[in-house]
């Protein structure tokens, strides 16, 4: 390893990057935009509230009470529908996915049930709904739960089966806090892999690699230069992502020595893959396509954006052979659950992978031509 040579390469790479404003923008801004978009979508996911349209045909104090109860759950913003209109038509005209109808005689039946314990006194609340809507099932589940609770309250008996929840996490975490480690892992991967492939195929096409082959620079120094350069970019990019996350979403994440370690292993692994790709793909354009072919499945299947438990089991098995999975999970283990043992385990797997790929990358890099 020749520090003077690596230093010289770093100076040229960083100057070139700094003077290429578009590349700089996309490297740093793209992951931040992702965090802002997804963070906003999933912000306070627990406190999400739906619009609920209620047509109260009974128009009594008791029936008004039920609408109030629904509103007080915090899950619904209630809008009253004029009792005179046809609810089905109304839903169609206003493109509503759910209108709830409280029938006439609600109060009478309620009193009958409560005071005379009459089992035949009941009411039917009707859901007028659009089954093609994505959120309507969630709304109906929440409503069913509220009504079940009301029914249970009417019987006067305390519930027999009760539930208790215990989080395996020491603290309560929000979606955004699970999301950010995945985005860091993904952003470092894309910058390292695409950056390495783009720069190296371009330098080869321009003949600069050929010129370098007539200087004393070694393949190992060249790859190490690529790794150190990508690591510096990754650290800056990660710091920017974390700053935005703290400033905008007030996230609560553990930042410790695992973070730079996982970033370094991420860089090692994907610069190595980039060097191997550069050897086998000749044209810059096909190199970019080949890099995408590796990056996209990795992005979506390794659990960067969503938990792999949401995927069919064969895809989950597949996810576990993807190197990015171990960076995602390792970063989550260290940043979210502060589980050092798990982080150690994941770093072992990605570390072994990075070592193999790094050595293959050196072997694949070719200075001399045929």
């Amino acid at each position: 390893m020749n520090l003077r040579v690596i230093g010289a390469n770093l100076v040229v790479s960083i100057k070139s990057f700094y003077r290429e404003k578009t590349a700089m923008f996309f490297t740093f801004a793209f992951p931040i935009i992702l965090i802002l978009v997804f963070g906003t979508i999933f912000k306070d996911q627990e406190n999400i509230s739906f619009n609920l349209y209620v047509q109260d045909l009974d128009h009594t104090e008791t029936s008004a009470e039920i609408a109030k109860t629904l509103g007080s759950t915090g899950k619904f913003k209630i809008t009253q529908v004029n009792p005179a209109v046809d609810a089905t038509q109304y839903a169609r005209n206003h493109r509503l996915n759910l209108v709830l109808i409280i029938p006439q005689g609600y109060e009478r039946s309620y009193i009958q049930n409560l005071q005379y314990d009459d089992p035949n006194a009941f009411v039917t609340i009707t859901y007028i709904y659009d089954p093609s809507s994505a959120s309507v099932n969630t709304k109906m589940e929440i409503l069913n739960a509220v009504f079940a609770k009301l029914n249970q309250g009417l019987t006067g008996k305390p519930p027999f089966i009760r539930t208790a929840v215990t989080s395996i996490l020491t603290r309560k975490y929000r979606f955004i806090e699970f999301f950010i480690p995945g985005i860091i892992a993904m952003a470092v991967m894309t910058a390292s892999l695409a950056g390495t492939v783009n720069v190296n195929t371009e330098l080869r096409q321009k003949g600069i690699i050929r010129k370098l082959s007539t200087t004393p620079i070694t393949r190992t120094d060249w790859i190490l230069s690529n790794i150190v350069y990508q690591f510096i970019l990754a650290v800056i990019s990660t710091a920017a992502m974390l700053l935005v996350s703290y400033a905008v979403f007030k996230v609560n994440l553990e930042i410790n020595a695992w973070l730079p370690l996982f970033i370094l292993l991420d860089v090692f692994a994907f610069v190595g893959i980039g060097m191997i790709l550069t050897r086998f793909v000749q044209e810059a354009q096909s190199a970019a396509a080949a890099a995408n072919a590796i990056m996209f499945p990795m992005m979506f299947l390794s659990g960067s954006f969503f938990p792999i438990e949401m995927m069919p089991s064969f895809l989950q098995t597949f996810a576990r052979v993807l190197p990015l999975y171990y960076v995602n999970e390792g970063l989550r283990a260290s940043m979210v659950s502060a589980d050092n043992l798990a982080a150690l385990e994941y770093s072992g797997v990605i570390g072994a992978f990075a070592t193999v790929v790094f050595i293959l990358g050196i072997m694949a890099t070719k200075w001399e031509e045929d």
Binding site: A8, V12, K15, I208, K211, T215, P216, E368, E369
Partner: protein
């Protein structure tokens, strides 16, 4: 004086094959220390393949190449610090300035303290030192490439087609830089398809065609040894002249400017042509008799033009 001390480059039975294509076919030659050696030939003759094997970019299929006494296939590590290379189609980092590029390449070599400003001055780039590579013209880029090739004060400099693609003025500016190198006593290995370039710069010229060296010597020697004929040019001839000369058994070649050129064996033939034209009542404006130049020697030896264009010789038959 031992052979190692005398020769900077020794090439013995060098062959390079790409599949079925024989790019370099069993060539041998030596380059003396301190001389400017030019490999002259048309595109596709095998010049670049040859120079890239010698300067360690490519590997040979067979044969031996020794550079500064070392086998190029085994001692690359020891060779590269002692040579400087301007590869064909030289290019550099787009957004890096001339001075920073020089500094970059100098840092790749161990234990050197190059005079970067001196080199920038040598190639006449002083007022462009802070200009980024992407903003340099073709000629300036080549001059930067030459300066980079000199950054480690090499014993042997390889310049692969240093002026290809440049306009005549930029070409002359590069030649000036190369003449400066020659004065410094560097061993220079040059490939070119410009005859004037070889004639102006080279001490020794090797003419290559289809992967073979077909003649070697100084430009003067090459001309002398192949000039058992004269070239007669009759300018602004009238219609009859061509027919008259042909009738006398010569093979005149005409051009669109009403000139004809005839290759003759000696001055007797010149007199014969003049008398014949006069007798037939044909006319011409002026007469030029001279020995052939390198281009015509090349044509005679290979039957092909060095490069396309108006100076492409007197038409290969």
């Amino acid at each position: 004086m031992t052979i190692e001390a005398e020769y900077a480059i020794e090439v013995e039975k060098l062959t390079k094959r790409y599949g079925d294509l024989l790019a370099v076919n069993d060539i041998s030659f030596n380059v003396r220390k301190g001389e400017v050696f030019a490999l002259l030939g048309p595109n596709g003759a095998g010049k670049t393949t040859t120079v890239e094997i010698i300067d360690t970019i490519r590997t040979p299929t067979s044969g031996k190449v020794r550079l500064l006494g070392m086998d190029v296939t085994k001692k690359k590590h020891d060779i590269v610090p002692r040579i400087g290379v301007l590869p064909q189609g030289f290019s550099s980092f787009d957004r890096i300035t001339v001075r920073s590029t020089m500094q970059y390449y100098s840092r790749l070599f161990c234990c050197i303290d190059p005079d970067i400003d001196g080199l920038i001055e040598l190639v006449n780039l002083k007022d462009k030192a802070e200009v980024q590579y992407k903003n340099l013209s073709g000629g300036l880029r080549q001059r930067l490439g030459i300066a980079i090739a000199l950054v480690n004060d090499p014993e042997v400099v390889f310049l692969d087609e240093p002026t290809t693609g440049l306009d005549p003025r930029a070409r002359r500016e590069v030649w000036e830089v190369l003449l400066g190198l020659k004065k410094k006593g560097k061993t220079v290995f040059l490939t070119t398809h410009y005859m004037e370039e070889a004639e102006l710069l080279a001490d020794t010229v090797a003419i290559v065609s289809k992967g073979k060296i077909i003649a070697t010597g100084s430009p003067v020697e090459l001309i002398e040894s192949n000039s058992n004929y004269l070239i007669v040019t009759l300018q602004s001839v009238d219609e009859k002249t061509l027919a008259v000369v042909r009738k006398m058994g010569f093979e005149p070649v005409s051009d669109p400017h009403e000139n004809i050129r005839v290759r003759v064996e000696g001055t007797d033939d010149v007199r014969k042509i003049l008398n014949g034209v006069e007798d037939a009542g044909a006319s011409f404006l002026s007469l030029d008799v001279r020995k052939p130049n390198l281009e015509e020697v090349f044509l005679k030896l290979t039957g092909e033009a060095l490069h396309e264009g108006p100076t492409g010789g007197m038409g290969a038959k």
